[in-house]
Symmetry: C2
Subunit: 450 residues, 2 copies
């Protein structure tokens, strides 16, 4: 053995931060992956009594073909967007990366139960253990992987508060790719930590609108002082991808393939509840923004209801300030403000709806995942709206009982579940809360509430 | 089953954030605790060939008696400070709280190994999964528990960057206690997130010096614009505890009972390495500030060396800017600037040493845990100093390979381990890195480096 000398630890010997040497890291490494981590993603489309309505071309209003999406997405993801296969195999390289933080914990909330005085058995499924603190990497890693397999080395995306941009930046770092993120100017200026997180992973983060795209320049010409919007950032990221034959675009929620990737959450819940000796989850509460945490958490349980006759109730918990499921119309609408994206059949407040500046930035979206909307329409899922103050009050009570500070998004599920456990749950009922992330970088929001 | 109605989720029905109802939560709840979580803390003092020198009274220079510490600490902790028993049973209530995040993961760093081109097997033990993102809650929960058992409902402490204050605030929330923290004014003003974390847990955080104590008022009278110091904050917290018969003081590092509580880290490493099929850790790298992560990580392995003849090397990785082990004297010195605390035999840069304002705030201490100092003096542990730039470069390379952004403190261990794995490790050698926490709330420091 060699002595450890200070001289060994120099900038030359110590690090080359800008590049990862060696071959592109797409091959599995032979990592042992815990058996609780699923081998396949689960696709609710296979078990639905009525098919999910197709996405429509924004010009022709005809169902989208693969060629319409090819400039933006790799073929594997385009196929996943429309497949009705029940199970899609997870590439082993993706499973090995999942194993860095998966299975995420399913924790019995003993102290919260005592604080609530409930005889229900309350569990929370905690996605905050991922490196960026939320569920977003579950799909970021999968999307980056399929792009890399097709030789695409550069991904573009938009981000609001920054959780998605950080997740995709991390995934790209792990797979030796470049990530370029357009972040809504208002968040870019006011929430610097997420941008710093992207940059630490090697991601490139631009405030949007930027002068790097035609869309951005047009927006700036119209209003040089604009603070931007998610719709504008989407336009910039899409334009950048379309103009570079070596680049693709990546979306962090809403679409069917994102729901598919997030199904690892609910599949793990099924295994972990069985390990804990529970027959089924009786009620599952998930927060609802674009729908990816909610769908990932609940779809495997809804599928079990449809196939095996279990009776799990799935409850979507959305902010009262942005109530697409409880107040919106179920119709075709665009995903962006400018109306450039495909038409999606979903619950929508209208693509010109401007949500109030609530703290749960991840829930500020005018529409909803078409698969979640469809499940609600079929009566497979319920929906409830939660006021922001009630959500924070619940988040604080949860933190003081269980130690974890939930993300502002997650507090909507926490509030609904706590109210249910306190007032309505019967003895021994199994309540599961989807904790989509932690609130460490959202402490200013808590502070404003306290 | 009842429907979930929005009306159920109101501020009245939803939360009472300031109090947790029901009896004081000291009794175990019957939680199933994973067997990897130790049942006993391990005490290196039992296996040392030479006893640890006693702490001395600052006035008489005689060894401290229990009565000297009784105004500050509960008797159980005073006994733990001097015990030479090899194992101290962990109260089941504390184990149940540990089980919320323990065992912490021991992860094989496959991608880092590939990036380094090493044939060593590199693992990291990750304490960042705790609710506050570092190892500090391991002792915070234990200290709060023993105080609560003796009926002490209020704890005071000091904090620099705020990790310790947040950890003790969380522990007090879980056990129904009050926590009052004096935070160095410079950090209080510049790093608001940790204060917000304390307040979310119900902790009370004062900037130090404050006008709430005689010590603080004297300091303010002398210099109304002072930005404070850890030594001054200690004086305020100690004064507040001594003046309130219902309060005690709590310290987050340095002392023997803190090393004891942190031994859960290294004990888990032993079990987890065996589960991974490893015969022993060949080299373990831990960051060295006050010594609690380092001691907790390495003492169980050093003890195994002493009892069973394993040959694990333990390497303390300290900042070159605050090099107590590699440059300091081994002698009796005070823990605080004013010289009011007991004299501790330790490696020290002098209690008037003012460390530069490095980003790894948790490593800015003039002294070192007496047990760590003693282990180094006996040749049971090595020490190396790491420059800040090399530490950040290593932290970024680690983040891009493994996804996790290490705390600035942890990057010192990462840098030394990476340099060793790259240049000196032999084939198949088992290298373990102590990742004391994550760097999510330290992203500004990374950003300054990038």
């Amino acid at each position: 053995m060699q002595p450890v000398a200070a001289a060994d630890i120099t900038a030359e010997g110590g690090a080359a931060p800008s590049t990862i040497p060696g071959p592109r890291p797409l091959e599995p490494l032979g990592v042992e992956v815990p058996s609780t981590v699923p081998t396949h993603w689960y696709n609710l489309a296979a078990d639905l009594p009525v098919p999910v309505p197709p996405h429509l071309h924004p010009g022709t209003h005809e169902p989208l073909g693969p060629e319409d999406l090819a400039p933006l997405f790799p073929m594997a993801l385009i196929q996943q967007e429309v497949t009705t296969e029940r199970y899609v195999e997870i590439p082993q390289t993706v499973r090995e990366i999942y194993a860095m933080w998966r299975p995420s914990p399913l924790v019995r909330a003993h102290r919260l139960e005592r604080a609530l005085g409930t005889r229900a058995r309350v569990y929370y499924k905690y996605e905050g253990v991922s490196p960026v603190g939320s569920h977003k990497p579950n799909t970021a890693v999968a999307q980056a992987y399929y792009n890399a397999v097709e030789g695409v080395m550069r991904l573009t995306t938009e981000t609001g508060a920054g959780q998605w941009g950080a997740s995709l930046s991390m995934a790209c770092a792990l797979l030796g790719m470049t990530c370029e993120v357009w972040q809504v100017r208002a968040s870019y200026d006011s929430k610097p930590y997420r941008r710093m997180q992207m940059e630490t992973y090697g991601g490139i983060c631009h405030p949007s609108p930027s002068d790097l795209t035609e869309a951005g320049r047009a927006m700036l010409a119209k209003d040089p002082d604009t603070t931007g919007s998610l719709g504008m950032a989407i336009s910039e990221a899409v334009e950048a991808a379309v103009k570079d034959p070596g680049a693709h675009y990546s979306l962090g929620s809403v679409l069917n393939h994102v729901m598919l990737h997030q199904s690892v959450i609910g599949q793990e819940v099924l295994v972990q509840l069985a390990e804990a000796g529970e027959r089924q989850a009786d009620v599952v509460f998930g927060c609802a923004g674009g729908g990816s945490n909610l769908g990932g958490l609940t779809f495997p349980l809804i599928g079990q209801n449809l196939r095996e006759g279990t009776t799990t109730r799935a409850v979507a918990c959305e902010p009262a300030a942005c109530p697409s499921l409880t107040q919106g119309e179920y119709r075709y609408d665009h995903g962006d403000v400018a109306g450039l994206t495909p038409l999606l059949k979903m619950h929508t407040l209208g693509n010109d709806f401007v949500p109030p500046a609530i703290h749960a930035g991840g829930l500020r979206y005018h529409g909803m995942s078409p698969m979640v909307s469809h499940a609600v329409e079929l009566g497979l899922m319920e929906a409830v709206a939660v006021e922001q103050d009630d959500a924070f009050a619940a988040g604080i009570e949860f933190a003081r009982a269980e130690g974890l500070i939930p993300a502002p998004e997650s507090t909507h599920a926490v509030a609904a579940a706590m109210a249910y456990a306190r007032t309505s749950a019967s003895d021994g009922e199994v309540v599961v809360i989807g904790l989509s992330g932690n609130g460490v970088l959202d402490l200013a929001a808590y502070s404003a509430y306290v």
